[in-house]
């Protein structure tokens, strides 16, 4: 093949499952040394497209039209042994959730060596040696020792590096990264993607980065394809797309990915003598692991939230931020300190005495679907907390309140009879919020309310929370790692690491002039599209 033959060409590709066509007439190509971004929301068909490029369509999908050429050769005409050699040898896939991509009972070194041996005639020892060599290049410290580890002994970021090594080891010409960093912490995500893209550029490989995060596209991709409902709706060089999207859908995505304007003025004037609604004083929570080690998940944490204000608690996984929220909602017993609600310590209260207080202290859970009993209807779910309110004893009063809550969270009333699995992720999230707000609480803990949502749904949820803040004069603790939503929602920010708060202050101040190194690192790892669109 010549230097300008595209590495990968998709021509008018259509894929169907039964009668349902999931990919319509897709055409795209990848040139050598190019990093192409494919962006779309859930159900756009991104992953099916990636699998089609390897001729590994999952679950009975079939190509109904068009062709895929790899290095100029039509996939459909190749015999199976050559197609096998092509997978991993010419086109390598990196999938989501690296830990699940690794064989749990074999050492990671052997797994990487296996891929090499599947494509080259090599002895086990030699393949292993090459794997270890590559481990060092993908940033795995102490590669000899790591090669002997089982996947469960690795962190998520380390496992992701192993998967990248698996993709690189047979020196393919194309890397497909399908939501490869989903679920990783922002700082790890940036490290991993920096590394992947650098290696691709260095080795002259082409890369396709499939994602729903425009920030990733903005930072890494030369060109972007926007997918929606199995079609490509827009294709442009990244810079042009970010400055002037050509289609309304592209513009909508871009708008949704931007942070909202700064939150409204603080509820209470500065220096007011009003006591805070919630005050956390020296909170401590320990966990004992199976092997007897004590982990200080929350280590002497203090903060205060005035009435009507929002404090964002940010930090990466394992920082203890979710544990703080669970201690506040009394889902976990604390090991020390106090939580004052309206100046009354509620940690010391027995469960029975605390229950009436739950009316005022509510929580919105992280994963919308698993936080709803799958066998209950929306009506019953939203109505459950009303048992805490003596005024809501009558069925009629309850029904009226449930309707009111659905309206408040912009859910159609007909969904009252629906079960959780019949709802979209955004609707499930709203049901979770309707439920938490049903008793008209004074204080709500939002645990990662924007995680794992599509760009536009996330924007809608952020808008909804902003409206609720205004209408209900809620005090909220907003637990998240999504800095974009923090800018849009929070009056002040506390940054947590290893169970401690390392920095706390007003939102604008923290973003403008972070004082702690860790905060600077967190902010540096964020991929806000503003950085690229402003230029």
């Amino acid at each position: 093949m010549t230097a300008d033959t595209p590495l990968l060409e998709v021509e008018n590709l259509s894929v169907a499952y039964g009668d349902r066509t999931v990919l319509h007439d897709i055409t795209l190509s990848l040139r050598p040394d190019e990093v192409l971004g494919i962006v779309g929301e859930t159900g756009a068909g991104k992953s099916v497209l990636a699998r089609a490029m390897l001729d590994l369509l999952p679950g009975g999908g079939r190509v109904t039209g068009g062709r895929i050429r790899v290095g100029g050769r039509d996939l459909a005409t190749l015999p199976e042994p050559e197609r096998r050699a092509l997978r991993g040898g010419t086109v390598a896939l990196i999938g989501t959730d690296a830990k699940s991509l690794l064989d749990p009972v074999r050492t990671v070194g052997a797994q990487v060596a296996d891929v090499l041996r599947a494509h080259r005639r090599l002895g086990a020892a030699e393949a292993k040696a090459q794997a270890i060599e590559l481990f060092a290049k993908v940033g795995i410290v102490d590669p000899e020792k790591r090669a002997e580890a089982s996947p469960h002994q690795l962190s998520g970021g380390m496992a992701q590096r192993v998967v990248i090594a698996m993709a690189l080891i047979a020196e393919p010409s194309v890397i497909l990264a399908d939501d490869a960093t989903l679920g990783l912490d922002a700082t790890i995500q940036v490290q991993v993607l920096d590394l992947l893209v650098a290696r691709c550029r260095e080795l002259g490989m082409g890369a396709v980065i499939i994602t729903h995060d425009l920030g990733i596209v903005a930072r890494y991709c030369d060109r972007v394809e926007i997918m929606r409902d199995g079609r490509i709706v827009e294709e442009a060089p990244t810079a042009r797309f970010l400055s002037a999207p050509a289609t309304p859908y592209g513009a909508e995505l871009l708008g949704a990915a931007r942070a909202r304007p700064a939150p409204m003025a603080r509820a209470a004037a500065k220096g007011a003598t009003e006591r805070p609604l919630v005050e956390v004083v020296n909170l401590v929570k320990h966990f004992t692991t199976g092997s007897g080690h004590v982990v200080r998940a929350v280590d002497d944490v203090s903060f205060a939230i005035p009435a009507g204000e929002t404090l964002a608690l940010v930090g990466e996984s394992g920082s203890g931020k979710t544990t703080v929220g669970q201690c506040l909602a009394r889902l976990l017993d604390s090991d020390g300190g106090a939580v004052l609600f309206r100046d009354r310590d509620m940690l010391g209260l027995p469960e029975k005495a605390f229950r009436p207080l739950r009316r005022d202290i509510q929580m919105v859970f992280q994963e919308p679907y698993v936080a709803l009993n799958p066998r209950w209807t929306v009506e019953r779910l939203v109505g459950e907390p009303l048992g805490l309110d003596p005024e809501m004893a009558g069925a009629e009063a309850r029904r009226a309140r449930v309707r009111e809550m659905l309206e408040l969270t912009r859910l159609p009333a007909r969904l009252a009879e629906a079960y959780p699995h019949e709802l979209t992720a955004g609707e499930q999230k709203r049901v979770g919020m309707a439920r938490a707000l049903a008793t008209r609480p004074a204080f709500v803990v939002f645990d990662e309310p924007t995680t794992a949502l599509d760009i536009r749904v996330r924007a809608q949820i952020i808008d909804l929370v902003r409206e609720l803040q205004r209408e209900m004069r809620l005090s909220t603790l907003f637990i998240t790692h999504d800095l974009n939503s923090v800018r849009s929602l929070a009056h002040s920010v506390a940054v947590m690491r290893h169970g401690r708060i390392v920095e706390m202050g007003e939102t604008e101040r923290i973003f403008a002039a972070p004082s702690h190194d860790y905060t600077r690192m967190l902010l540096g790892a964020e991929l806000p599209i503003e950085r690229y669109t402003a230029a």
Binding site: R51, L54, L56, P58, R84, A85, L86, R87, G88, G89, A92, L93, G95, D97, S100, L101, L102, D103, P104, V105, R106, D114, V115, A118, H119, S150, H152, V163, M166, A167, A170, G290, S291
Partner: protein
């Protein structure tokens, strides 16, 4: 701290074995307690029941003293436990031999039967289920579906009878269903207790042919009934792993199918090991029925005799030995399970 450091330094297999062993003690204690209580469940005086209607006052009194029946329940239990620990399981009312001797004599017959049945079961079940998963909608897939359902519904004793009727009575191609070896052939000198092994060790081909021939029908009977459960479970487990992300990723990385099967099978091993252990216990129960049909002369047939002739010491001894045997099997299974799965902390 130092103790736990020393512990950490031990090789993992040794840690697994040492970690498991202490759990056996309370279990053994419990087994002995249950078999002890079994005799207490008998309505009326155990001594009278054990001696039957011919008992004299004196012999009853003697037996009561011998059984330690005169003390409190706990004294009786302590007495029983001491006896058991000394290998004394009482005297069989039917054979008049010590129960322990009777059981020792008959154990190899049952173990040989269980051994070959288990071997055949694993072979068939694993092969069929792997082929069924790798080639969906193929012959193996279809066969495993129908067989998986039917096998669990067939009573083992009935299958044995049908096989005898068909292959011995009607077609005349199977060995006679009377014992482990032709009465005209001298059994090989005992080394392992397994006639097939011992005859090969002794170089006695006619004994080997006869004992192997006698094994065919009972082993097939047990396998037919047993393989269904293992096949069903292996298929489910293997299919789940076959569809898992990491096997899909290995396929996407271009690994040959044979490697994928090997890796998926390696991952299915822990649950298969567990079920095999459970099936050994099940086989022991099934052997009771099958041995009766084939006049096998093993533990199972001894147990049925004990039931028929109300030989309670023999029954009690059999239950104890069976339970201890199963405990040992489970112990081995647990250890193998942990060895097969590196994710388990030790």
């Amino acid at each position: 701290m130092t103790l736990s450091d020393t512990w950490r330094k031990l090789p993992r297999p040794l840690r697994i074995v040492l970690g498991r062993l202490p759990m056996v003690i309370p279990q053994m204690f419990g087994v002995i307690f249950v078999t002890f209580m079994l005799a207490r469940l008998l309505p009326g005086d155990p001594a009278l029941l054990m001696l039957g209607n011919m008992a004299t006052e004196e012999s009853i009194a003697n037996l009561r003293a011998q059984l330690g029946l005169d003390g409190t329940l706990w004294q009786q239990f302590a007495h029983y436990m001491l006896q058991v620990l000394h290998g004394d399981l009482g005297i069989s009312l039917f054979t008049s031999n010590p129960v322990a001797t009777d059981l020792m004599e008959r154990a190899p017959a049952t173990l040989e039967l269980v051994f070959y049945s288990m071997l055949l079961t694993v072979l068939i079940a694993v092969t069929v289920s792997v082929v069924a998963v790798v080639r969906p909608r193929g012959v193996a897939d279809y066969f495993s579906r129908v067989y998986g359902l039917a096998a669990g519904a067939i009573p083992d004793f009935w299958v044995g009878l049908l096989l005898i009727f068909l292959f011995f009575s009607t077609l005349g191609i199977a060995a006679a269903p009377f014992g482990r070896i032709d009465p005209l052939v001298t059994p090989p000198p005992a080394v392992t207790g397994f006639y097939t092994f011992d005859s090969l060790i002794a170089g006695d081909l006619s004994a080997f042919r006869s004992s192997a021939g006698r094994l065919v029908l009972p082993v097939i009977t047990l396998t037919i009934v047993n393989a269904g459960a293992l096949m069903k479970m292996t298929k489910t487990t293997f299919a789940e792993i076959w569809r898992s992300d990491f096997i899909r990723h290995q396929r996407a990385s271009g690994l040959p199918s044979r490697w994928l099967v090997r890796n998926a099978l390696r991952n299915s091993l822990p649950p298969i090991i567990t079920l095999v252990g459970f099936l050994v216990g099940f086989l022991l129960g099934a052997a009771v029925l099958v041995e009766t049909i084939f006049s096998w002369g093993g533990l199972g047939q001894y147990a049925v005799q004990a039931v028929t002739y109300s030989d309670y010491p023999a029954l009690q001894g059999f239950v104890l030995v069976a339970a201890v045997f199963i405990l040992v099997v489970y112990l081995v299974v647990d250890i193998l399970y942990e060895l097969a799965d590196p994710r388990i902390e030790t």
